[in-house]
């Protein structure tokens, strides 16, 4: 398993039967590959559907059936279509159980920076700000560092996507939870020592019982 696969498979263990889940584009979409077979989860795509099914074969492609990343998708049984207002009503209104998103930076208070890279064109926040504010549980799925530089900070330095909304951070090294008293290290990857994790994290970690990540 590479870093992304480790992250995606660990995030998938957070899902429960009946959950409505929204996966951001990029790494988070991989989570769908690791849903435990004994649970039934519904994925939302914010462009207007609940019930993402498997990727279509070439001859099954419908140009009017895409996900929020403009990829062709299918609809599984029990799914349905709706407009953007309804879609974001579901998102903002706390009806999404879990959203999984990437990060440029995420901090010990649960704030997230994910939409502005200094010096680069800002493509826009899309639906990310609504998702982070609205979902019941916000999981950040990200590599622990970017070119060796920590992405997990005491305080974000980049412009925020949302303030104090993140609940959990899953990297290839560790699982962390944002609580009122700070960032708790809950799990470490079998190959990562606590020292390595501390070293590669730019935020104070509260450490009690650290379990091994199951991936």
């Amino acid at each position: 398993m590479n870093a992304k696969e480790i992250i995606a498979s660990r995030v998938a263990k957070e899902l429960s039967d009946g959950d409505l889940v929204n996966l951001g584009i990029g790494l988070p979409t991989l989570v769908a590959n690791y849903v435990p077979s004994n649970i039934d989860v519904f994925f939302q795509s914010e462009n207007g559907l609940i019930g993402l099914g498997p990727t279509p074969d070439d001859d099954e492609i419908d140009k009017n059936l895409t996900n929020a990343g403009a990829q062709y998708v299918t609809l599984k049984q029990g799914g349905m279509y709706f407009d953007s207002v309804t879609s974001f009503g579901i998102i903002r209104g706390n009806h999404v159980n879990i959203t999984v998103l990437g990060a440029l930076e995420v901090d010990a208070e649960g704030s997230l920076a994910s939409w502005i890279i200094p010096g680069k064109l800002v493509p826009g926040m899309g639906g990310a700000m609504d998702l982070v504010v609205g979902a019941k549980k916000v999981i950040i799925a990200t590599t622990h560092t970017n070119k060796g530089k920590p992405k997990i900070k005491k305080r974000c330095t980049l412009p925020l996507t949302a303030y104090k909304e993140v609940d959990m951070i899953v990297t290839e090294l560790a699982v962390m939870e944002v609580r009122d008293d700070g960032l708790h290290l809950l799990e470490r990857h079998p190959n990562a020592t606590i020292e390595t994790i501390i070293e590669q994290t730019d935020a104070p970690l509260i450490i009690n019982h650290v379990k091994l990540m199951e991936v």
Partner: protein
Amino acid sequence: MNKRIDKQAFIDKLKDGQTVMVGGFMAVGTPEILIDWMVEANVQDLTLICNDAGFGDKGIGKLIKNNQVKKLIASHIGLNPYAGQRMSEGTLSVELVPQGTLAERIRAFGAGLGGLLTPTGMHTLVEEGKQVINVEDKPYLLETALGADLALIEAKTSDHYGNLIYDKTARNFNPVMATAAHEVIALTHNLVKTLDPECIVTPHVFVDALVMEVHDER
């Protein structure tokens, strides 16, 4: 009550400087042929309201490429290289709006509301220049209603009255934009005598004109 119009009648409705809402999400659900006709008419100084900037040669991206757009209000512009280019050239200004806020602002206009209070964007750059209002000690951004002169939407099927249904995820911003413009023009791919009154998504009262495109050539 015949709402059908042809290409010329459509072009006659276009004016320089108009604010135009266009349905679609990454060009899925965008009425392409109407955009082509806007390119052909070469109207200038448009303000566009759309979820995104489309692609370079698809969706409203074609209008940006052709230098017809003065301002774009959208949630995302990353898939159209011309958008960034026009911005750095200084010919295009872009107002980025969180996608859910964009949908709600358009809805507010269509529903006669002055605005809405959303938690989205609090403590971010989106807050700039906006009023923060506390309700039960929780802060919200006041976002105001957003309407347009013209809304261009794409439907799957219309009946003779202009009642509309949509096709899968091509629905997206189309129904809400149908409520929020002074004139609403729908491109439809099918025209039928009646639609199931329980399944109509856009009531005909929102639709001013219909353009019929039997053969979808995209």
